[in-house]
């Protein structure tokens, strides 16, 4: 920390950690010069378009390509039969299952991939798709996951009907995927049996979709002469996908290059490997020309990784003062037709066991039963930190329900149950060690800022007049930064991340990392971390991600892991550079290393500060003979960082809503969001993430849902019906913060981008239910659309006109 005015000035010039500097990546975006995958044009490139099933469950009787092949511009039509010779008609998923690349014999969800038409341009490809003739025999579809394991239920996955397990333990039914549990069941049951107070509620977390502005797509290009495969694609984890592609294709991984260029939003939608990618790759190998596949919005909403679809039962046991003694959460998880979402090996239900939340709950048990249905595959997506959205929604709803049962104020009950500041690091009853936190301080700050007592008073007055006003509170703890070697892996690969820094002679640097920005600002924030460590301006530190030929291996960007893992790697790599620089400085200044101290951007001799060498000077020296004997030239540092723990950002949110008792419309009057993500690298970027995450939370809580009819037909799969709020509906967000650094992270940072989504959703929900709490309503399922809210209003008779 710089102390003198002169040092402060030098520090500010670096624009390092803590500086709300402009983003370095903006220049190309504001000029329309980004390179998104659909911007890529390669010579000879063909366009691929997918033929999809109109039925949710059907046998394929025949596929007739003749008419399609006769369409001018159509070059080929690929079906499962064309992929069989290379054994790619099925592919392993990141969830331990297999998924049909192109449907063979049957289809298991509406819009499932059946064939790909390759044509000279997208217009001819569309014409070709319209001419492919597929005959189906419809089968009964399972849409309600509660019916998946009924005796005699139609078998969805005939391909694995005999398999006793699908990657995660024994199955009890052909439509069963896995059962996963954590905690002490017997102990928890015993507490419930004797508890003075228990509450129980059935809580739905509806199926929604991340819907990034850019849909998924790729350009696959196989160079027959060099035997080299290059794929430009919308992937949040290019290295992991490269490894999967190597395993699938048999091409050596060293001859596969994946490029995640500019990605127009990910939010978890761009983690899975989609059939479109695989067919495009095969098509390129077979034809020898590049193949572009870009899905439409309807295809995106209908077939790519959805989120949630958890049918939960929440139970809390407590004493009469609302102190929770035990927690018992179970969920029926609807995964769709294939278990395709990313799953850490030991965590098929993600990090659901964080469901004890911010509270010191002595006994807990949770169980997730996952089943197949005739719907699109997925489940883990959408700023969820791997099922943390599901977990936090449950605990934050249940604590409100407990508060209502005991007539305890909803802020007060949280205070009574918080893990206290002095208890950190705190290991929860389900095994997570929360690194640091001060939940009480965060909540108190929020309540003061909004004048909570006055709001409750106003609410009481409004209730007396028959008006519906709700106050929602959410005090959440997130778990991000996957992850420690000992805790998790994907397909066996550890979830470390990496940073490779090279400082050049004239004192600027380039750093390459294994994460993958889709708008989070890595080109800026990683540069800021390194700038502070090395004393070089963040303007002069280039950040690269996404090209697997250049970037060191990493697990990509999802689950808010970039700052906790990639940021840590950047800091540690920079410190290696700095350690070498210190040796060179000592050599140049002819002192011992221990005689030097670091001052913002230079090493000074203790007691003789005019004797100093800046990092820039050292960088030049490192490439000359002016270095200690026996030392390697150059000024590089590289780190593969295996985090010792996850990180646990947290927050306190408060929402005030006014509900129109005649239409059911909810107006968000105020939303106050306090986030603690530890050390704040770029406050402007953090605030932007909060705004975005809250807006997505608002969309989920207030209107988003992927709706199916009883035949498995998806109804809300375009932007006509899938609720994406405009600037008019979106509330104004008030943001605040506290700083509780992570004790184990090199710069104390925790990551933040998913917190507003994880914490925001229950906050809106709690506010809506709170508006009816005085009438005995304990829970209302999302989405809280005007229609859904009106159903409660109407049932209670609140919409009668005098």
């Amino acid at each position: 920390m710089a102390t003198t005015a002169e040092a402060v000035e030098r520090e500010q010039k670096l624009q390092g950690v803590g500086c709300s500097r402009r983003r370095k990546e903006d220049a190309r975006f504001i000029q329309g010069k980004g390179t998104y995958v659909d911007d890529i044009k390669l010579p000879g490139m063909l366009f691929g378009s997918i033929v999809r099933s109109p039925y949710a469950h059907a046998r394929i009787k025949s596929i007739n390509k003749a008419k399609a092949l006769a369409v001018p511009g159509v070059v080929a039509v690929l079906t499962a039969d064309d992929l069989k010779p290379v054994n790619l008609h099925w592919m392993p998923t990141l969830g331990g299952d297999v998924q049909a690349v192109l449907a063979d014999k049957k289809v298991c969800f509406q819009m499932q991939e059946v064939a790909m038409v390759l044509a000279t341009d997208r217009y001819a490809a569309a014409d070709g798709v319209a001419q492919v003739e597929v005959e189906y025999d419809e089968l009964p579809a399972i849409v309600d996951p509660h019916k998946s394991m009924a005796p005699g239920a139609p078998v969805i996955r005939e391909d694995i009907a005999d398999k006793k397990e699908v990657g995660h333990g024994p199955r009890t039914h052909p439509n069963h995927i896995f059962t996963w549990e954590a905690g002490d069941k017997a102990g928890t049951d015993a507490v419930f049996a004797n508890a003075p107070v228990t509450v129980r509620e059935e809580i739905l977390n509806p199926r929604v979709h991340p819907c990034p502005m850019e849909t998924c797509g790729c350009v696959a290009s196989f160079d027959k002469v060099a035997g080299q495969l290059t794929v430009y694609l919308t992937s949040q984890a290019p290295h992991l996908v490269r490894t999967v592609v190597a395993m699938l294709s048999g091409i050596p991984e060293s001859k596969i290059r994946l490029v995640g260029g500019d990605i127009g939003g990910g939010f978890g939608n761009k983690v899975p490997v989609y059939p479109g990618y695989v067919v495009a790759i095969v098509a390129s190998i077979v034809t020898g020309v590049p193949i572009k596949w870009i899905e439409s919005r309807i295809e995106n909403l209908s077939t790519t990784g959805f989120a949630r679809d958890y049918h939960g039962i929440g139970e809390l046991a407590a004493d009469k003062d609302g102190r929770i003694q035990a927690l018992r959460f179970t969920a029926l998880a609807d995964h769709g037709a294939f278990n395709s979402h990313v799953s850490a090996t030991k965590f098929p239900a993600g990090l659901f066991s964080i469901c004890t939340g911010s509270y010191a709950i002595p006994k807990a048990y949770c169980r997730v039963d996952a089943v197949y249905t005739n719907k699109a595959p997925g489940g883990v997506a959408y700023r969820c930190s791997l099922r943390v959205t599901e977990a936090v929604y449950l605990i934050e709803r249940m604590i409100d329900i407990l508060a209502q049962k005991l007539n305890i104020d909803k802020a007060e009950i949280r205070r009574r149950n918080f893990v206290k500041a002095e208890q950190f690091p705190y290991t929860t009853a389900l095994g997570w060690t929360l690194d640091s936190g001060n939940y009480r301080a965060a909540l108190d700050k929020v309540l003061k800022a909004v004048n909570y007592e006055a709001l409750r008073k106003e609410q009481a007055e409004k209730r007396a007049r028959g008006e519906l006003m709700g106050i929602g509170i959410s005090t959440f703890t997130e778990i991000v930064g996957a992850g420690p070697n000992k805790a998790c892996d994907i397909l066996g690969i550890s979830l470390f991340d990496s940073c490779d820094i090279r400082v050049n002679p004239t004192g600027s640097a380039i750093a390459r990392l294994g994460t993958m920005s889709q708008g989070q600002g890595h080109a800026t924030t990683y540069a800021q971390i390194i700038a502070t460590e090395l004393g070089l301006s963040s303007d002069e530190i280039q950040i690269e991600e996404g090209d697997t030929d250049k970037a060191p291996y990493g697990a990509g960007t999802w689950g808010s892991r970039s700052t906790p893992v990639g940021g840590a790697a950047a800091a540690v790599a920079a410190r290696k550079v700095k350690a070498k620089a210190q040796k060179i400085a000592a050599h140049l200044l002819e002192v011992a290393e221990g005689d030097l101290e670091w001052d913002v951007d230079r090493f000074k001799v203790k007691g003789n500060p005019s004797q100093a060498k800046t990092m820039k000077e050292i960088a030049m020296a490192a490439h000359t003979s002016n270095i200690p004997d026996g030392m390697e030239k150059g000024l590089d540092g590289s780190e593969y960082y295996d985090p010792p723990n996850m990180t646990y950002p947290f927050g306190a949110y408060l929402c005030v809503v006014d509900i129109d008792r005649f239409t059911g419309e909810t107006k968000v009057r105020r939303f106050y969001a306090l986030d603690d993500c530890g050390t704040r690298i770029n406050p402007m970027i953090i605030e932007g993430q909060i705004h975005g995450g809250l807006t997505e939370a608002y969309a989920v809580a207030m209107g988003q849902q992927l709706v199916f009819d009883s035949g498995g037909n998806i109804l809300s799969n375009s932007l006509m019906d899938y609720f994406v709020p405009t600037a008019v509906e979106t509330p104004k967000w008030e943001t605040d913060y506290t700083v509780t650094p992570s004790p184990h992270h090199p710069i104390g940072a925790k990551g933040v981008a998913e917190s507003p989504h994880v914490g925001g959703i229950p906050c809106f929900s709690n506010a809506v239910v709170d508006a009816f709490a005085h009438l005995g309503v304990t829970h209302m399922d999302m989405p809280h659309s005007a229609f859904n809210v009106w159903k409660t209003i109407h049932k209670l008779g609140l919409d009668k006109h005098a």
Partner: protein, 161 residues
């Protein structure tokens, strides 16, 4: 289907190309004329990522046939800078952090450009309503609104360019 020749002004220059009647203006701009700044985010005319300025009006170019641009004037994000200088809106968007992934940004900029021509001194509510044809998933709109306000101020001060 035989292609017909069309020509129009694109970002101040005359362009000529051959199109089928069914070709959408967004595809012609992106693929034949290689201006890939305007983007495609949906096919139901909701998202606004494809917004261009056609004959002085903001339109969704995914719902306009290229043949309908014949003889007209089209402005896309690539045409916003003047003599190498960024438009005040482009400066403002980066100053106010009004973009994250950048995908909706060209559409936002081109729409904001025309919006400020129509309403040089807007209230916040008017900005939100005026930009309601452009969806964003990353920013939550607050900083986009700030950027438009900031640009409006600068442009008013500079005499409304």
């Amino acid at each position: 289907m035989a292609k017909k020749p069309i020509s129009f002004m694109l970002n101040g220059r005359k362009v000529e190309t051959l199109v089928e009647p069914r070709e959408l203006l967004i595809h012609v701009i992106r693929e034949q004329l290689n201006q890939t700044g305007s983007h495609i985010g949906c096919e139901t005319s909701h998202c606004g990522a494809c917004t261009v300025d056609l004959n002085g009006r903001s339109v969704k170019s995914c719902t306009v046939l290229a043949v309908q641009a014949e003889g007209g004037t089209v402005l896309t994000v690539e045409g916003l800078p003047k003599n190498g200088t960024l438009h005040p809106l482009q400066e403002a968007f980066t100053q106010e952090h009004g973009l994250q992934c950048g995908y909706c940004t060209p559409g936002m900029l081109v729409r904001a450009y025309r919006f400020l021509q129509e309403n040089p001194n807007p209230t916040e509510e008017q900005i939100r309503f005026g930009m309601s044809g452009n969806l964003c998933r990353c920013t939550g709109y607050m900083n986009i609104v700030k950027a438009v306000q900031s640009a409006a101020k600068k442009m008013q001060a500079a005499g409304g360019k």
